[in-house]
């Protein structure tokens, strides 16, 4: 149990998983939303509101699981507002999504102000109070908290749902052509509303992971652009859950490996280290998805298009 090499590899692996978790959670949610034909650019805002709500609920109730539920509800509420504006009132999805992010940044800062100086024990510490005194190997293993496991499991579940179930098929059909789905008698608006709410809840969950487990605290703007990276991953993965996870893990791995290399004394220019995660992820995902036919097949054809039953 005291093999330093093994502990180091495990540390790298666990750190990669942890760095990828918020991206996977938010990305998978957005993937489902987009598969139904709705483009919600408000991921960053929903993550921030999820992060602050999860943190506030945890501090107030003392129960992190209530915090997680509250974060998901808050994310879904934001997504619900987006759905009302774009699906019911037919507002432009791009503009509304951007507005949602701007709102989320401001609102989370306002709501989070009283919670700025409340350090809390992280989810891992809460579940395993002896974390700090455990052996280095065990310490690493214990950092894989329930949210990390959920993040690893979610693409499997979402893939099975989309590819193997009837509701999944209907959801994809709605994203391909709302007219056809409507003609078949499916409730396009309701399906899209549910998919958007799911996306919001998952973004809220990703935010809660940041404020409750990854860096257990609330500070303004703590999501620091991860919502945008999740959005980009959805597109670069050509709407495939497993490729999205691959992209998120790669992004996390290259980030962590850069730190690791610096800590080992491998001499790398800091600017290169900062750029590499983006370069590597884009390069790999573009390479694996360069097949044009499959790309057009996977992209939801009705993405971002407004639907009105009478129109």
């Amino acid at each position: 149990m005291h093999n330093p090499g093994l502990a180091m590899c495990l540390a790298l692996l666990v750190a990669t998983l942890r760095a990828a978790t918020p991206l996977i959670l938010a990305g998978i949610g957005e993937l489902v939303t987009e598969k139904s034909g709705v483009l919600n650019l408000g991921v960053e805002g929903m993550m921030l509101v999820g992060a602050v709500t999860g943190f506030a609920a945890t501090v107030t109730t003392g129960n992190p699981f209530l915090g997680i539920l509250a974060a998901m509800a808050a994310g879904a509420l934001m997504a619900g507002a987006f759905a009302f504006l774009t699906l019911t009132l037919l507002a432009n999805q791009v503009a509304t999504g951007l507005a949602l992010t701007i709102f989320g940044v401001g609102f989370s800062a306002l709501a989070g102000a009283p919670f700025q100086s409340h350090p809390i024990p992280g989810l891992a510490t809460l579940l395993f109070p002896d974390l700090a005194t455990a052996s280095p190997l065990l310490q690493q293993l214990l950092l894989i908290d329930p949210l990390v496991i959920l993040a690893v499991a979610s693409p499997v579940l979402v893939h099975l749902f989309l590819a193997r179930t009837r509701p999944g098929l209907i959801l994809r059909a709605t994203g391909e052509s709302h007219e056809v789905a409507h003609a078949f008698g499916y409730k396009v608006i309701r399906i899209r509303l549910l998919a958007t709410l799911f996306g919001g809840a998952m973004a809220g969950l990703g935010g809660a992971y940041l404020s409750l487990a990854y860096t257990p605290m609330w500070t303004e703007n703590m999501v620091a652009g991860r919502g945008w990276i999740a959005l980009a991953l959805v597109v670069f993965s050509t709407w495939k859950p497993f490729w999205l996870v691959l992209g998120a893990l790669l992004f996390g791995f290259v980030t962590i490996a850069g730190f690791q290399a610096e800590s080992w004394g491998i001499e790398l220019a800091p600017n290169l280290v900062a750029t590499l995660p983006y370069l590597a992820t884009i390069l790999v995902l573009v390479l694996i998805s360069r097949d044009k036919v499959r790309l057009t097949l996977n992209a939801p054809a009705a993405l971002g298009k407004p639907f009105h039953p009478a129109g």
Partner: protein
């Protein structure tokens, strides 16, 4: 923008402060902040300075601030607005405000401007900054005494002189009491990203570092140390509540005395432009109270070091100092000039990292 509510603190000493400016009423002083105030960090320390001005001068001043002002075109608009609002003295507290401040200062020659950490000055535009590296040197001594593994981790944002001064001074301080010390530097390429700072700290801990410090703006490093049971030395503000057991101290910025002094100078009509680069002596950099984990003997030693630095009898960048390659960079008997310190772009021996 929030205005002072400390009107009850009017001091009887008011009469001793004649106003040179003709306008009646309190002196109006404005502050421009680059980020939200929050409860720790760079902007928070400036805000403490503003509150100190309010507390010290009461009714004689009317202070205000604008927070979260983007560097660049936005800043110019905000600074000009503050100038036209009738402020007599305007402090702009981030490096990126340099050109906007200069521009507005030239348009309002009767007003006084002060820009933090910049180098462009005018007859009505002064600059000020702190020798944070003196605090870094003192905490290096502390870290050198507290380490067991002789490996230390430094989570840093960008390889600019201000950050490099800190890393070098910390390393020199640590090696002055423990020549085996190695300081590993990990760059986050971001002033504020708690997630990245946390990941960098975790990596350094896994790599054997038993003391961590940082030159980034969040409290993530102090929290990482607390969770893993590793000592940390915080930056900007006292972060003991984030690391009650492990945060040994913090290198803090302290602008209170400077701000009060400059406001008084405007009132007395003695304000002149210039550049102030203050350290322990001027109280611009200070250490936060020590953690209970710091033994008495170490406290005494570090306090002694601070006294020496404040007196100026010893300087952090005093030869002999070798660079990373082991070549003599500062010969024995010499100390770096202020210009060489301000332009620093190299690492001392014992730092593991690349610029």
């Amino acid at each position: 923008m929030r205005l002072s509510r400390r009107t009850l603190l009017a001091t009887p000493a008011l009469g001793l402060l004649p106003r040179a400016a003709s306008a009646a009423g309190p002196l109006k002083v404005a502050f421009v902040y680059v980020s939200p105030i929050g409860d720790a960090g760079w902007t928070f320390q400036h805000e403490l300075g503003r509150r100190a001005v309010d507390a010290a001068l009461g009714d004689a001043v009317k202070t205000s601030f604008v927070e979260n002002v983007e560097e660049g075109a936005d800043a110019e608009r905000v600074i000009r607005k503050l100038a036209t609002d009738g402020n007599d003295l305007i402090f702009t507290t981030s490096f990126g405000y340099m050109n906007p401040t200069l521009k507005v200062a030239q348009q309002f020659p009767k007003l006084k401007f002060e820009h933090a950490t910049g180098y462009k000055r005018a007859a009505n535009l002064a600059t000020y900054s702190a020798r944070f590296y003196e605090g870094r040197f003192a905490t290096g001594v502390l870290a050198g005494r507290m380490t067991k593994s002789a490996i230390m981790g430094y989570v840093a944002a960008f390889p600019i002189p201000e950050v490099l001064q800190g890393i070098n001074a910390f390393t020199l301080g640590a090696r002055s009491v423990n020549p085996k010390v190695q300081v590993k530097v990990v760059w986050t390429s971001s002033w504020f990203d708690p997630g990245k700072e946390r990941a960098a700290a975790d990596t350094l801990i896994a790599g054997g570092a038993d003391i961590l410090t940082h030159h980034t703006d969040s409290t993530a490093v102090a929290q990482a140390g607390e969770e893993k049971g590793v000592f940390t030395i915080a930056y900007n503000s006292d972060q003991s509540k984030y690391g009650p057991k492990t945060c040994l101290t913090a290198v803090t910025h302290n602008w209170n005395d400077y701000y009060i002094g400059r406001v008084k100078a405007v009132m007395a009509g003695t304000w002149t432009s210039g550049d102030v680069w203050g350290g322990f002596k001027q109280g611009m950099t200070k250490l936060a109270p020590y953690n209970a984990a710091v033994p008495e003997a170490v406290r005494k030693e570090v306090d002694g070091q601070i006294a020496v630095l404040a007196a100026g009898t010893a300087k952090p960048f005093q030869g002999p100092v070798n660079d990373q390659a082991g070549k003599v960079k500062i010969p024995a008997g010499h100390a770096l000039s202020d210009k060489d310190i301000a332009d620093m772009k190299w690492f001392v021996e014992g730092v593991q990292g690349k610029i």
